[in-house]
Symmetry: C2
Subunit: 121 residues, 2 copies
């Protein structure tokens, strides 16, 4: 898994979203339909609008990687309706992924800042 | 041309390379085979190794956009050999492109720094 999302240029959207999904799981804020709105609002001022399919692919990759798993809970006050939640299946692996992404994010910021320095006075 | 290389996530490699090629032209450092070595050396410590084809596609896009043009000069001391150089065909357009890319680079640095802030304590 380690190398899959590491591009030699800038990190990929998929890796970026997986990082956020892991952090949202840590914060117990990851469930069903809220994810899309939550991320979109967050990135709005940066002109980045992740789409539904990209977010769900990232989520499924985390499950395929054995990092997250889904579970269902009855909706509050509604015995017959269930809400899908996500929790860690392999917390250690999630932390390894986050560490790896930190190195990658720092590298990318460095590369972009170099470009600003090299191309603009 | 304006929107072609602007992604909603992070800027594309092609746009990044075009920016460097424009600046190298300003510095009169852009000619033939040197480009690849020059850029590769520059980015080595950032783990980014642009390939030949990507660089030449960027160069050709700049020519298709009417920003750069190529010309040939005899090689120093070698009357029968020619070296290919590049110069501005539309300097104003080159400057507009650079300005646009500055906004894009700042946006990307902001987005990545937000991710660092949001996901790491």
């Amino acid at each position: 898994m380690a190398k899959k999302n590491v591009s030699t240029f800038l990190l990929r959207q998929r890796a970026f979203l997986k990082l956020y999904l892991i952090t949202l799981t840590e914060q117990e804020r990851l469930y069903g339909l809220r994810i899309l709105d939550l991320l979109r609002n967050d990135f709005k001022i940066y002109g980045y609008k992740p789409n539904h399919s990209e977010i769900y692919k990232s989520l499924h990759e985390l499950m395929d990687d054995g990092i997250l798993e889904r579970y269902k809970k009855p909706k509050e006050g509604m015995k017959l309706q269930e809400v899908v939640y996500y929790r860690f299946k392999d917390y250690e692996e999630a932390q390894r992924y986050k560490k790896q992404l930190k190195v990658e994010l720092d590298r990318c910021v460095g590369l972009l800042q170099k470009a600003i320095k090299d191309n603009y006075k």
